[in-house]
Assembly symmetry: C2
């Protein structure tokens, strides 16, 4: 594609910036059209873990990135890694196994390590990447316990490197618009928030259904979207939590003791109350805010694309459309820009820690049948 | 409408039950075309309490009734009663004050007394109507305490008269369709139910905001729809309840101590979990069932008209339309048919009692911060 060059020449002609030669020096200086500066350097990402999220979402998203490119892959499956490296232009020198992972420190083309492993592996691979002198973008949930989150945050601080958690919806235009509508009180003060996230999970052998690897059931994997949304839509931290959990007896998918469905309620300091649902048994995909004058919602709210916004006032429903953007590209570009500009990511390790603390409280409330209070 | 007679004759002809005349009596019988019988007698209703529900919904609904007509009005405002009596053809002999209420027993044109008074007055006026030998249709909530409900049920039994509670949505086609879709598992087993009912309440001086008259806040008045829907959509009784309540400090509407918003969670014996919201602060008008293969919902779910049904599968939304019917006419006709046929109403006093018990448990859960268990 030569379009940019053509356009540039056309631009110069149209604005009269091409002129006649008048001297040798002038000829030389002017005969050479002013060249653009080097393209802004894209930061190099190592993708750690080549499961479906990496293959279907993250690697294709680099085509839409302005500040990020993929320069390394880490996998236990060398053949898979090689195939993907060829497809995405990753050099052979950028291929790593888990045994050679720490050698990332010697690869100057890797600025940021994106940890896309099963949940229980997040702490180790995040800390090792920081130890290797790299910045880290880590998938959510950040870890299986708040203690591990604290260890990860401390390691990042000690290394003087960034730590961001992959809350993609915090970079997605519809969810950002919902936050603005709530915060700016477009329809008055928000009072009730309803967030539901769930799907009917398939293959019983996947790591998400292994309690040791996943740290829990639907809440850790998908319900975290509902929790996080209730927090970002309210703009507050929960101070009290109720919960009920249910898992279908005998369902082979939940044989390892991970919960199927967990319904939780949050109380926020301003008085906003949230009702949330997390499920591996049914499809749930909606965030809604009820404010004094109207309700506004996304449904779908957390799909990778094709989100839809509705404003509901009395019996009328108004649709609002925004341009579609690649969520993972926005997320990775944000991380790259934070590294370039040395700014704090919008969703740092502390954000992941807050969700972990709330999730532990949700499990405790469901287990004890008592309201669990938090410091907010 | 002569349809029933025609059908009957056609039935007789088709089955060969018409026979040739063989005598004078026979000739006379055939020469005179068979006249329709008298129109089916509509049962007479006394409307007790002429507030906005009676004026705007119940009295106009009689025009759509097949089995019910209004024959008496009871009000403390004689002028208002007279105006309405003229408009709806109620004779002067059918006008009562609260002082003359017990004389209803001498009015043979009154079969059924419809109690549309503030909640705290339901028990007294229901029991007095039963004592007067009338059947009673009583608005919801049935009373302010389960104990009063039990007294009312006992009085109806002692009188040998019907007692029905005015759960209009149990006679409304969309809600009935939702029940069928859930019970017949059109989209697989229901697992999660979400019911929300609320509105921003106006005039701070209305009886609904007087705790003694209303028995509570939004839950007693509008949240009862969400509770009742969770019960009829699951087809089960809750065995455990969590709740959070919030009332905006300083809001003059809630100065008498009635709650603004109360979010509650229900656990049902089969494992269905429900999240519900009741509010006097924001508009909420939706019942949704998440089953294994799809979600189906009404929104609006509890308006007097123009309900809308959606089936949500993945990213697709299917609308389903049903003919519009007058909810109060269906409700009053059901009551009349139960009296005529001596059958039990679909929503008897026991139904009102179950909601009262659950509402007391919701208040207790909110107050104590503990899961309240019920016998189901």
């Amino acid at each position: 594609m030569r379009t940019p060059t053509t356009s540039r020449r056309q631009f110069l002609q149209a604005t009269g910036l091409t002129v006649a030669a008048t001297s040798l020096a002038g000829v030389r200086a002017r005969a050479q059209p002013r060249l653009p500066g080097p393209p802004e350097k894209k930061l190099g990402f190592a993708i750690v873990g080549l499961g479906s999220l990496s293959i279907n979402q993250i690697l294709p998203a680099f085509a839409h990135c302005r500040h990020a490119r993929v320069t390394a892959l880490v996998s236990g499956d060398a053949a898979k890694a090689k195939t993907l490296a060829t497809a995405y232009g990753v050099p052979a020198s950028g291929l790593y196994s888990y045994d050679t992972y720490d050698r990332l420190k010697d690869n100057p083309d890797v600025d940021i390590v994106y940890v896309v492993l099963p949940n229980s592996m997040h702490p180790e691979y995040t800390v090792r990447a920081h130890t290797a002198g790299k910045h880290v973008l880590c998938e959510k949930p950040m870890a299986n316990t708040p203690q591990e989150c604290e260890t990860m945050i401390a390691a990042a601080t000690a290394a003087g490197k960034k730590l961001m958690i992959g809350y993609r919806l915090r970079y997605e235009p519809y969810n950002m618009a919902m936050i603005r509508m709530a915060r700016e009180q477009e329809f008055g003060k928000p009072k009730v928030i309803l967030c539901e996230a769930g799907f009917s999970i398939g293959d019983p052998k996947q790591w998400r259904l292994n309690k040791q690897l996943a740290g829990g059931g639907s809440l850790m994997d998908i319900g975290i979207y509902a929790l996080n949304a209730a927090r970002y839509l309210s703009g507050e931290e929960p101070v009290a939590i109720n919960a009920f959990s249910y898992t279908t007896p005998g369902d082979v998918r939940f044989a390892d003791g991970v919960e199927e469905t967990i319904n939780f309620q949050l109380r926020f300091p301003s008085g906003i109350l949230a009702n949330c649902v997390s499920s591996y048994g049914v499809g749930l995909n909606r965030f809604r805010v009820h404010a004094e004058k109207a309700a506004f919602q996304l449904e779908p709210a957390l799909s990778y694309s094709d989100l839809r916004m509705q404003v509901i006032r009395g019996g009328t429903v108004e649709l609002r459309s925004l341009p579609e953007r690649n969520q993972f590209a926005l997320e990775m570009d944000h991380m790259a820009e934070c590294v370039k500009g040395n700014t704090e990511p919008r969703t740092p390790g502390e954000e992941g820690l807050k969700d972990l603390r709330a999730m532990m409280a949700i499990y405790e409330a469901a287990r004890t049948g008592k309201t669990v209070t938090l410091n907010g």
